[in-house]
């Protein structure tokens, strides 16, 4: 009387079936999702959580997967065609990307600005500086504590550009590199009372938790432009095109402008129009950034 059957074979067979079906179960309809590559600071502001649903409402046939990584990595994903469209803010690198043939086109869609924030008592006297170059020179001269992102992100690239434009090589105990995301880095700078270059959106979202205040803003070199780039040879070119077009459309622009209205009077992201920012300013900035050799290093 065989009461105990070959248990082992059964267990093996059952668990193999379970394993396979578990894995296959998650293989849903994934091939039609548009892969959008963006940067962590963009994502962390929450903008995309507002934009993407609006887009899919307008175009229900598309679904979107947002991959948020550092801008260097985002561009690399574009080169590998793992994303179909990019929304990033590293102008010099973007231009090189398109020049190298990886991108079909590039359109600036929104902007805000960077600000230099620092402690209320402003030991380096930034309030007297006329532009960002002067501000940085003051910080270097005073050897006031400055915290850098240090992670080759869009913000960090801009910061390096600004130092070299000001003619300064920032070294010394006063210059520290955080290697963190924007928000976390701001909290660190806040704790130690350091100066820092931050994008306005992230700073605004954290400002009630911070003692740091904006000390230098408005310089044209602090303009932070976000562009949408259609990846060449993308898997979902129509969806990418629809998304890029939608961002530039009235509906898209409106969504961008109204984002974060509840928390701050000023829009966190300003949609780019024909006249705003002025084309000349944009062009000058792009030239300056490219000319300084902050090209395609990632």
């Amino acid at each position: 009387m065989a009461e105990t059957r070959p248990r082992v074979a059964t267990v093996l067979a059952v668990s193999s079936v379970v394993a396979l079906s578990l894995v296959l179960a998650s293989c849903g309809p994934r091939s039609d999702a548009l892969h959008l590559g963006s940067t962590t600071s963009t994502y962390d502001s929450g903008l995309l959580d507002a934009l993407v649903p609006a887009f899919t409402e307008a175009y229900p046939q598309y679904s979107v997967k947002v991959i948020a990584v550092g801008s260097g990595e985002a561009l690399e994903l574009g080169r590998r065609k793992d994303v179909d469209v990019l929304l990033v803010h590293a102008p010099a690198a973007e231009l090189q990307f398109v020049r190298d043939g990886h991108g079909l086109d590039r359109h600036p869609v929104m902007y805000n600005d960077f600000v230099v924030v620092g402690p209320e008592d402003d030991p380096a006297g930034l309030r007297e500086a006329v532009d960002v170059g002067a501000a940085l020179r003051r910080i270097a001269a005073a050897e006031a504590e400055f915290l850098s992102r240090g992670d080759d992100s869009g913000t960090h690239k801009r910061e390096r550009f600004l130092w070299s434009r000001a003619g300064i090589e920032p070294v010394g105990d006063w210059y520290r590199e955080a290697g963190e995301g924007m928000a976390a880095a701001l909290l660190v700078a806040d704790a130690t009372g350091a100066y820092m270059l931050a994008d306005r959106a992230t700073y605004s979202s954290l400002s009630d938790r911070l003692r740091l205040v904006p000390l230098l803003e408005g310089d044209p070199l602090l303009l932070n432009v976000y562009s949408v780039i259609r990846v060449s040879g993308a898997r979902h070119p129509e969806a990418a095109g629809a998304f890029a077009a939608w961002l530039g459309s009235d509906a898209g622009r409106n969504r961008i402008a109204t984002f974060g209205q509840a928390e701050s009077a000023r829009p966190l992201f300003q949609p780019v129009t024909q006249s705003d920012p002025p084309a000349e300013t944009l062009a000058k900035l792009e030239q300056a950034l490219s000319g300084q050799g902050l090209g395609p290093d990632r």
């Binding site: 009387m1 065989a2 009461e3 105990t4």
Partner: protein, 356 residues
Amino acid sequence: MSELLAAGKLEVRYHGRRVLDVEELTLCEGELLAVLGPNGAGKTTLMRVLSMLEKPQSGWVRYRDWTGAEAERALRRDAAVVFQRSHLWAGSVGYNVGLGLRLRRAGNNEMAERVHTACTALGIEDLIERDVANLSGGEAQRVAVARALILEPELLFLDEPTANLDAEVRAAFREDLARLTRSTVRGTLLITHDRAEAFYLADRVAVLKEGRLIQVGTPSDLYENPADPYIAEVTGAEFTLSGRVVGREDGLLLVDSGGVQLLSLGAAPDGADVRLAYRPEDLVLADEPRESSARNRFEASVTEVRPVGGLVRVRLDGPPGVVAVITRSSAEALGVRPGSRVTVHVKATALHAFPI
């Protein structure tokens, strides 16, 4: 007597060293064959090969009419093996005893009943629920035997079953083995280095030394005609005589030992140096020479008298020097004490000559 198990030209080598070299061996139906030998003789290897748990480098094994893979399958079905150190799996005694049945897909009810029967036969029915980690050595070996016998094997292989047991439990266990092997199996192969156990339990004894069979026979055969000094020693002989062959007489060897001429069994060329094996109890002491069937007679003086249990060991200086074992009463009657002179009588058939 029909043959249950037969083997021939077995050769086993480990790392180039030959550990087993057996010309032929059979186990007959109804018999218990003991394989006796010193440690390292290759007995365990022989058992593994005969039970087909190990393949020899050359040679064959036949179980009934089968050889090769068929024989192996049949042996797995019909034979049970108890190793010197039996491995008990973590769990209860009942689990272990029933393991063989479980492997054969027996039903739970049948298994419980048979486990109980087997444990009772070994006297361990009270231990069925006990965890094997809490067993004494003797109890563990009983579990191992129960585990083997529950399979109702035709053939039983036992490897030194009492070697790891304390002296007190060994005797009782041996009795149980004797009873069980007679009643339930058709043939038993018993591996042991304990000659008392071999001679007590076995119908035939095969003596293995350095991988070779040096003698196979009944216990009496071995006792009376040891083919080798080791066998003589194993059957109780002591070696204190040496001598040289000086001639032959009536088919016996004439050996000169310290000036005394002794007739002995054995074979050796004239002039050869030999050792004479004898059993101390075969020496008869008298205070004066007398007529007896013993053809060897010589005088000796006592050098040492030592009581051992109910007997007395007497050391004598002939020449030649010998040791005799006599009863207490004889010792008293003879009045042996160091210095006294006695006559030693020993039969020619009680002396075995082996060339040195």
